[in-house]
C-alpha cells in the first residue's frame, strides 16, 4: 500500500469486500444456528430457516458495511458514505436473488450434463474393463473438473457484478486523507470503539448469556437413543410414608389373623386327633 490509492479491478474489489464480509458475519450466524439447534429447531428447515434468515439481515448489513468501509478508505482512498452497509446489502441481495439463482441453475445443469456424458463414455465396451474403484475416481475427476471450472467462472462473474456495485459507491465518494499513515489511523479509529471497557463488558455479558441459554436449552439425555439400548432402570413409584405404614399395618393385621386362624385350626385338629386316640383305646380295651 502506498500514499496513492490503488486502482482495483471489479473482480478484486468484489472479492475484497465480499470475502471478509462473509467471515465477519459467519461467527454470529454460527452462534444463532447453535441456539436454534439446542432448541430443537433445524436451521435449514422452516421455521428455523426463516428465523435465521431474518436475524442474518442486520448481521449482513453490519458485516458488508464494515468490510466495505475498510476497502474504500484503505485501498481506494475515499471517504466511505454513511449508508454504505445498507446500500451494498440490498443491492447485493438483489444480485444474489437474480444472478445467484441463475448461477445455481447453470451449475446444476452442468453437473447433471457432465455426469451423463462421463457415464456414457465410461459405458463404452472398450472402457468397461476399468475396475470399479478406478471408475469412481475417473468419473468424479472428469465431471468434477467441468463443474469446478463452471463454478469458478460463475463465481468470478458474481464477484465482477458485486465489484461494479462497490465501484459505483466509490466513484460517488469524496477523496480521503492523502497520506497512507493518516488513512490507517482513520481506519483504526473507525474500527476500534471509543469506549473499550464498555465494549468488553457487553461482549462478556453476551457470551455469558449465550452460554446460559445453550445449557438451558440443551437436552440432558441423548436426542438419538440407540435402538438396542435397553433401559434397565424401571421407573420406581414415588414413596408415600403414611401409605407405606398403613400398608404394612394392613399386612401385619392380615398376617396376625392368618396366624390365629391357623392356630385355631391346629387346636381343632389336635382335639379331634386326641378324641380318635381315646376312642381307639376304648375299642382295644
Amino acid at each position: 500500500m502506498t500514499d496513492q490509492p490503488t486502482q482495483m479491478s471489479p473482480v478484486k474489489l468484489g472479492l475484497a469486500v465480499a470475502w471478509p464480509a462473509f467471515w465477519t458475519g459467519m461467527p454470529i450466524k454460527i452462534v444463532l444456528c447453535l441456539l436454534l439447534l439446542a432448541m430443537g429447531q433445524h436451521p435449514w428447515e422452516f421455521p428455523g430457516l426463516a428465523f435465521l434468515l431474518l436475524l442474518s439481515i442486520p448481521v449482513d448489513i453490519w458485516a458488508v458495511g464494515l468490510s466495505g468501509r475498510t476497502v474504500l478508505l484503505e485501498r481506494l482512498g475515499v471517504e466511505p458514505p454513511a449508508s454504505l452497509g445498507l446500500t451494498l446489502w440490498w443491492q447485493g441481495a438483489a444480485l444474489a436473488a437474480t444472478y445467484g439463482s441463475l448461477a445455481c441453475f447453470l451449475e446444476r445443469q452442468t453437473i447433471a450434463g457432465s455426469q451423463a456424458v462421463v457415464a456414457r463414455i465410461l459405458d463404452l465396451e472398450l472402457l468397461k474393463v476399468i475396475p470399479i474403484a478406478e471408475r469412481i475416481s475417473i468419473e468424479l475427476t472428469a465431471w468434477g473438473s467441468v463443474a469446478a471450472v463452471v463454478l469458478l467462472a460463475l463465481t468470478l462473474g458474481g464477484l465482477f457484478l458485486f465489484g461494479k456495485l462497490v465501484q459505483r459507491q466509490a466513484d460517488a465518494a469524496s477523496p480521503a486523507a492523502a497520506s497512507y499513515e493518516a488513512r490507517v489511523h482513520q481506519w483504526d479509529l473507525m474500527r476500534v470503539p471509543a469506549d473499550q471497557p464498555l465494549m468488553l463488558t457487553v461482549f462478556t455479558a453476551t457470551g455469558v448469556a449465550l452460554v446460559l441459554l445453550l445449557w438451558a436449552f440443551m437436552p440432558v439425555t441423548t436426542p438419538h437413543p440407540h435402538e438396542s439400548y435397553k433401559e434397565e432402570k424401571k421407573a420406581a413409584p414415588p414413596l408415600k410414608p403414611t401409605d407405606a405404614l398403613q400398608k404394612a399395618e394392613r399386612v401385619l393385621t392380615q398376617a396376625e389373623a392368618s396366624v390365629q386362624t391357623l392356630e385355631a385350626k391346629a387346636k381343632k385338629s389336635k382335639g379331634k386327633a386326641s378324641e380318635k386316640k381315646a376312642a381307639a383305646k376304648q375299642k382295644k380295651a
Partner: protein
C-alpha cells in the same frame, strides 16, 4: 482520593514480586506482529484451544469410561444414555478430533503457502510436522475406545496397513494388537497411548513449537514493502488476540452445532465377525483407504507401495522442504511449483475421499 493500593493491587504486586507476572505478561502480549494482525494467523491459537477442550472433555469422559473389552462398549453407552449431558460431551470430543485434523491441515497449508517454513523457521516446521503425526495418532487410537464394530474394524484395517512397514511394521502391529485379534490388550494399549503418551508428547512438542516461534518471530505477510509493513505493525494484544478469540468462539460453536446435528451413535458391540458392516477408517484416512483399492496397489508389493512407501516419501519430502527450497521468495504467486503442488495434493485428497464415500454407497 487515596493513592494507597487496594487489596487486589497488593495481591498482584505480591505475586509479581515473586513470579515476575508483569514481565511474563509483557512477553506474552507485546509480541510485534509485522504488517498487523490477520485472520490468517488464527490457526495456531485455535489448535491450542481445540486441544485444551479435547483434554477437558476427555478427562470428563474418563470419569465414566471403563477401558476393558468387557465394559468399554457398555460404559460408552452409559455415557450416551444415562450420564447428564454425557451424549453432548462425547459428541463434542468426537467432532473436536475432526476439527483438530482440519485445523492442522489449514495451519500447515497457510505456513506452506505463505512460505513461512523458510529460513530461519525450519525447526518450527519440523516440530509442526511431528505435531501433525501426533494429531493423527490421537485420531487413530481414540477411534477404538468405544469398542463398537466401527471402532474394531477401523483399527483392524489400520493395524494391517501398519504391518506392511518394512523392518518395524511387524513389531509395531504385534505390539499394538497384543494378540492375534484385537482384544483387551489392544484396548489397554490404545487407551494408554491416547490418554498418557500422546497428550504428554503433544504438550512438550507444542511448547517447543511456540518457543521456537517466539524465538524466530512471526514471518509476516509475503507482500508489501518494509515501509508498509512497519506502518501496519501491531502488537499481539489486543487485535490479534481479539481475532483469535472470535475464531475460537466460532470453532466452539461449530463443534457444538455438529454435536447436535450428528451426535455419536454407536454401532453394535465389537465382534471378530464384521457381518453386514464394511470396515473403513475415520474420514481423514479415507483417501488412503480408497487409494489402496486401486488395482495398481493390489498385491503385497502394491499395498506396501500405496500404504507405506508413497505416504512415507511424501512426509520425508515435507520434512526436507525447508532445506530443498532455499529461495527467499515467499510470495506464493511467484512460486508456481509450490502452488501447483499444493493444489494437486489437496485435489487428490478431496477426490479420493469423495470416491471412498461413493464407493461406500456402492458397497451398501
Amino acid at each position: 482520593m487515596s493513592s494507597q493500593p487496594n487489596l487486589l493491587e497488593k495481591v498482584i504486586a505480591f505475586v509479581d514480586e515473586r513470579v515476575g507476572l508483569k514481565t511474563l505478561q509483557a512477553k506474552m502480549l507485546n509480541e510485534p506482529v509485522p504488517g498487523g494482525s490477520r485472520w490468517a494467523y488464527i490457526f495456531g491459537s485455535v489448535l491450542l484451544f481445540i486441544f485444551i477442550m479435547q483434554a477437558v472433555t476427555g478427562i470428563l469422559l474418563m470419569f465414566y469410561y471403563v477401558p476393558s473389552a468387557d465394559h468399554a462398549y457398555a460404559s460408552t453407552q452409559y455415557i450416551i444414555h444415562e450420564v447428564d449431558y454425557g451424549w453432548f460431551l462425547l459428541s463434542y470430543h468426537f467432532w473436536g478430533s475432526s476439527a483438530m485434523v482440519i485445523m492442522v491441515f489449514a495451519h500447515m497449508s497457510q505456513v506452506f503457502l505463505w512460505g513461512a517454513y523458510k529460513s530461519p523457521r525450519e525447526m518450527i516446521w519440523l516440530v509442526g510436522l511431528a505435531l501433525f503425526g501426533i494429531v493423527m495418532g490421537f485420531g487413530f487410537t481414540g477411534y477404538l475406545l468405544p469398542w463398537d464394530q466401527r471402532a474394531y474394524w477401523a483399527t483392524t484395517v489400520g493395524v494391517e496397513i501398519m504391518d506392511k512397514t518394512p523392518i518395524v511394521g511387524d513389531f509395531m502391529a504385534r505390539f499394538l494388537k497384543g494378540g492375534a485379534t484385537p482384544g483387551q490388550m489392544t484396548l489397554s494399549r490404545f487407551f494408554v497411548i491416547h490418554v498418557m503418551i500422546l497428550p504428554a508428547a503433544l504438550m512438550g512438542l507444542a511448547g517447543l513449537h511456540i518457543f521456537l516461534f517466539r524465538k524466530a518471530g512471526p514471518a509476516g505477510p509475503f507482500r508489501g514493502t518494509p515501509e508498509e509493513l512497519k506502518a501496519k505493525t501491531d502488537y499481539f494484544f489486543p487485535r490479534q488476540i481479539w481475532k483469535d478469540m472470535v475464531a475460537m468462539g466460532a470453532v466452539f460453536a461449530t463443534i457444538c452445532s455438529l454435536a447436535f446435528i450428528e451426535p455419536v451413535v454407536l454401532l453394535e458391540e465389537a465382534t471378530p465377525d464384521p457381518g453386514e458392516y464394511h470396515p473403513e477408517p475415520e474420514w481423514y484416512f479415507l483417501f488412503l483407504f480408497q487409494l489402496l483399492r486401486l488395482k495398481i496397489f493390489s498385491g503385497e508389493f502394491g499395498q506396501f507401495l500405496g500404504a507405506i512407501a508413497i505416504p512415507g516419501v511424501f512426509m520425508a519430502l515435507l520434512a526436507a522442504l525447508p532445506f530443498i527450497d532455499r529461495s527467499p521468495e515467499r510470495n506464493i504467486f511467484k512460486r508456481p511449483v509450490a502452488l501447483i503442488g499444493w493444489i494437486v495434493v489437496m485435489a487428490t485428497i478431496l477426490i479420493f475421499t469423495v470416491s471412498a464415500i461413493i464407493n461406500r454407497e456402492f458397497l451398501d
